[in-house]
């Protein structure tokens, strides 16, 4: 707060006059810097309606640095002139004998505050020579306010326990808060945005009655990842370029033998109404350990297990990491999270799959869906799910779905009239869209931008647009 002395002096001045005072005049008369008076005005304003101050601006002319020098020592010309000795150059004799230093005189007028005596043209000329400059001075015209008083009561900043105890808060005046300022950031931890979205998807599945699958097994055998899904051994996805293979432990060593034989047979010879792929199925390929390329490997294990007991309908889901040895770019990493839903029941139809997908995506806020025929080695029919993007005004792909093939389900031992429908999507893509992230590395992995993590809002709904 400004010096109370100044405040009081100012108030006294204001009291004496009826129509008010100019802050600049007060400063001059008190011999203090104008800014001190401005500070006092602001302080008094903060106290409430003690004074009212109206901002005024006036223009006046001031000498520049060079101008000041000229005013003191004469114009450059006159200084040259005075420097030439009397007996000096012959040329000087040709010139005038004495000069009238008008520039200096004009500047001196301005310096003394009599700039009005100069003509506008003269001032502009001096301004061009950078000897004068026009300065705008802001000052306050101060008048009494409604609750004017010459004494200042000190304002309290905060309510204290003592005030509450003594009750003297009733007499105190409190400094108003500045509601424009930001509050103090709370000292807290933060959840990762991708995990926040995962929590929401998990919640949606649970709300729909889906049981979570145990997907905590990143290492899988090719058998469960591919063969059990009726994905042929020459399929490009099983290439070194697409899948991470392990050198240690290189092979899985234990399989349900009866089931393995049935899988082998359906691939190489067919059966269960299928022609099969008619190729030489090799156990060596099936034994190869890999980092699972989809969580459907776990779904296969779960469905096989389900087939080993009396069949009851199930709804399963999982959200977990999968790994692809693919080319990396701004939206693709070697590992990402797959969201997967599976329903197994008697007599499920393609219409049922669409219905479930409709319910699932409605929970995400996506209601306009349509389906495109697609191909997937282990589902038939297979459908790509498209949603209408209101922003882009076009249909964009949001997921993949299908009905598991009989060649996958029947060798497991599931009853023939049981259908299994499933769908999947990635967790990263909707998250990137929700949080407006363009480079996936800013979201996942150690290069994450922690500020982004700190600032990311809660995920009430997963994104309404993919």
């Amino acid at each position: 707060m400004a010096d109370t002395g100044v405040l009081e002096t100012l108030l006294q001045r204001v009291e004496k006059v009826d129509d008010g005072v100019d802050s600049l005049a007060v400063a001059t008369s008190l011999g203090v810097d104008h800014q001190v008076i401005v500070g006092a005005v602001k302080s008094l304003q903060a106290l409430g309606d003690v004074i009212s101050a109206e901002l005024r601006s006036s223009k006046h002319w001031e000498l520049t640095e060079e101008g000041t020098e000229i005013a003191e020592q004469g114009s450059h010309e006159s200084r040259v002139f005075s420097c030439i000795p009397q007996e000096g150059l012959a040329q000087s004799e040709l010139m005038v004998e004495s000069i009238d230093d008008q520039v200096r005189e004009k500047l001196l007028l301005v310096q003394k505050g009599h700039s009005t005596q100069l003509e506008e043209k003269e001032k502009n000329e001096l301004k061009k020579r950078k000897l004068l400059s026009e300065v705008t001075v802001k000052s306050y015209w101060i008048t009494k306010g409604n609750s004017f008083s010459t004494t200042i009561t000190k304002q309290e900043t905060e309510l204290t326990p003592e005030m509450i105890a003594s009750g003297n808060w009733k007499e105190k005046k409190f400094k108003p808060y500045n509601f424009e300022a930001m509050g103090v950031a709370p000292d807290c931890g933060h959840l990762h945005p991708l995990m926040k979205v995962r929590t929401q998807f998990r919640q949606i599945f649970l709300e729909m009655g889906f049981t979570e699958m145990p997907t905590n097994n990143f290492i899988e055998s090719s058998f469960w990842n591919f063969d059990s899904l009726f994905q042929p051994q020459q399929h490009p996805a099983r290439d070194q370029h697409d899948t991470f293979f392990l050198s240690d432990p290189a092979h899985a060593h234990e399989f349900p033998q009866d089931y393995l034989e049935r899988v082998k047979k359906v691939h190489s010879e067919g059966g269960y109404g299928s022609q099969g792929y008619k190729y030489d199925w090799k156990i060596e390929e099936a034994q190869k350990n890999i980092l699972r390329t989809h969580t459907t490997a776990v779904s296969a294990r779960m469905l096989y297990k389900l087939a080993q007991q009396k069949f009851t309908p199930v709804k399963y889901f999982s959200i977990d990491r999968v790994f692809r040895n693919e080319t990396l770019d701004a939206t693709h990493l070697a590992e990402f999270h797959q969201i997967e839903g599976v329903v197994a029941d008697y007599g499920l139809t393609l219409g049922d799959l669409m219905g479930v997908l409709h319910q699932f995506f409605t929970k995400l806020g996506i209601t306009k869906l349509r389906f495109k025929p697609a191909y997937n080695p282990y589902t038939e029919p297979s459908m790509e799910v498209f949603s209408y993007h209101e922003g882009l005004k076009k249909w964009v792909e949001v997921g993949n779905s299908g009905v598991f093939r009989p060649e996958m389900l029947l060798p497991m031992g599931l009853p023939e009239d049981v259908s299994v429908i499933a769908w999947g999507l990635s967790l990263e893509r909707p998250t990137m869209i929700k949080y407006g992230i363009n480079n996936i590395r800013e979201l996942v992995g150690h290069k994450v931008n922690l500020q982004m993590v700190y600032d990311s809002p809660i995920c009430r709904n997963p994104p309404t647009h993919f």
Partner: protein, 848 residues
Amino acid sequence: MPTVGVKRDLLFKALGRSYTDEEFDELCFEFGLELDEITSEKEIISREQGDTKASGASDVILYKIDVPANRYDLLCLEGLVRGLQVFKNKLEVPRYKRVSPLSGEPQKLIITKETEAVRPHAVAAVLRNITFTQERYDSFIELQEKLHQNICRKRSLVAIGTHDLDTISGPFTYTAKRPGDISFKPLNQTKEYTATQLMSLYKTDSHLRHYLHIIEDKPLYPVIYDSNGVVLSMPPIINGDHSKISLKTKNVFIECTATDQTKAKTVLDMMVTMFSEYCAQPFTVEEAEVVYPDGKTCIYPELAYRKEKLSGKFINQKVGINESTEKIAHLLTRMCLLSQATGAGDEIEVEIPPTRSDIIHACDIMEDAAIAYGFNNITRTTPRTYTVANQFPLNKLTELLRQDLAAAGFTEALNFALCSQEDIAEKLGKKISEMRAVHISNPKTAEFQVARTTLLPGLLKTIAANRKMPLPLKLFEISDVVLKDETKDVGARNSRRFCAVYYNKSPGFEVIHGLLDRTMQLLEVKPARGEGYHIQTADDSTFFPGRCADIFVRGKNVGRLGVLHPDVINRFELTMPCSALEMDIEPFLGHTAETPLTRDVPMKEVIKHRFPTRDESQQSAHSRLTSTKTVFGDVSTQVGLEALSDFLADKSYIEGFVASQADMIVFDAIPSPPSPTLCHLWRWYNHINSFQTDRARLPSAKSRYVLPATPLATPNDASDEEDIDLFGSDDEAESAEVARIKEQRLAEYAAKKSKKPALIAKSSILLDVKPWDDETDMSKLEECVRSVSMDGLLWGQSKLVPVGYGIKKLQIGCVVEDDKVGTDMLEEAITAFEEYVQSVDVAAFNKI
């Protein structure tokens, strides 16, 4: 998904109308294609090589269309148009015919046995009187390329060669020769090369070099000659220049050599069905004869039509529609599957043409009916599947903990499960050989060498990437690491960890320690030795000497915390002190009300399904088995022994092909040597008996064998239960009265038992026996445990289960007769070996 580029105007001309881009996109969508891009040659060149190169290139509009990976019949303009026209009811599906040549013998391709080791299969056909235009010719070449890239798996499975038949004369010989002995002028070259020279010539060829590896290291290379010794091709690399086809070519000889016979036939069928359209007799293909090394001959192309019968009900039920049989037959016909209602009920006969190699099951036919019906015309329904949701307990715990750890002021990080060896070893001051890490054989960069065995490096790297953020940095992660584990079918398992770091100007051990205390509070573990948690000094090269401690929970080491070693801090390019905590969270799972799912699958099937492919006679004694735990019934009864004998009728051992602990468990359960009348059992019993001296060395059982009592107790038998003295008093001064009552009860019991000999209440118990530390000799410990013997106690299989930081617990199963053995007796007996055993817990208790 393969992409086919077709000229828009040619396509529209062939379709007989033009479409707007949107209309055509819509048509594609409905049919299962995707109009991926609308472009021109000019645009492609200017995008790939710059505008200057593109000037003068054609700006004819191209449609790039994505085709499903199994639809080889849509990989060229001809096939696409045929498919779409039939779909739009504008064309009847053509019938492809194989014909004999008008004059004389068919062309012959003779396969010699030398090809066997390199590329044993070949098929051939002739397109007679074909008329090429520039567009047709381009499409013909392009289709070969598309087939090579897709079904042919980059020529490794099949390679196609097409030749001007008028420049060569049959019979043709497909043989294999030493590379030095093959010499010819290859396509578009001016002079002859030997195969050896060609292989080095094409090393730098941007296209052909990708195929060299297929035969490169073989002693003999495949080659096809005509009767005059002219080289047609050296598959799968290059054709000869002599027989190259041109716009003027009238008769085309097509050969496909392969390592996969089925695919070769399919590829040949695709080539001829697509382009026989341009023959003088459209859709006819002239046959060729292939002579095998054994003298057998075959006529190609197969052009096989297959018929399948299915019911309209099947389609209606699977799709969820209700259409007449005739309508369904019509829908299928629109998908190039000529179909008609047979009139027998709702039966439909579907003819699968040679172009539809993707149809291998009735479900493929069903999908086509659904596509023709229109996926988006199907009514969306809600299945009535009633289920109750369960969370995976480990994930539930993780979710709950994450929330509270964030509330404790720590920020969640999310790091990759894959990393470099250096990250988990050298940088932490450890050796990679000491890590139980899983190694990747084909990493493209060092970032994917191993699966992480610890979460710490990820968090330290996160800090390093965020050094500009204000201090302190407090991070945590709860996620999986991967450890090798021999007990798992794949040899590895995930382990869920919680890791936290504190990075500031001072080490802040107290902050990390405080977080541990808070975590334990959340997990309801009190600070105390024994039943609670405590920390004690440990030595670890990752941490600053003397500033590291192990975390013990209920006597088990679950993790470690401390101040990081300055070398570790430096190696992660950090500058400030840092303290860290990492621990397993799986030990805190405890019991949940929900039955947790596991993905561990039974290795032995006990429910025998009636598989249509199975021989009915194989249904054996298996069908009596009812669950994973009841195996043969009570082997102390005659019925049980008979079942076991039946089981052993065609087996030497209980499981697999060598004697194992499974045999021992069953052996032990048989009270006395069986009678020789049960001949299979008797044989097996004597055989297993011979292993008794070194039974411990037999491999462990693959399945759990628990030997049950046969019939289950009925409610009237509940009185039996009351007799069980759960807290078996060991008061030695038993009063005479008590003794009398006991004797009386025993007598009653014996009487009951004689009436129902099979009824003995038994339980299967799984015990966790924990050692004092990682230096405890576990085999000694097991020996001690197994030395406990009581009447009615039968030890089963055991395994060592790692609990973290090198400590393993012994998990051992046993079967007890409830009347004779109680868990308290067992625990008491085992904990008596206090030199080895720290504690004994009952991990599972199941009444049999």
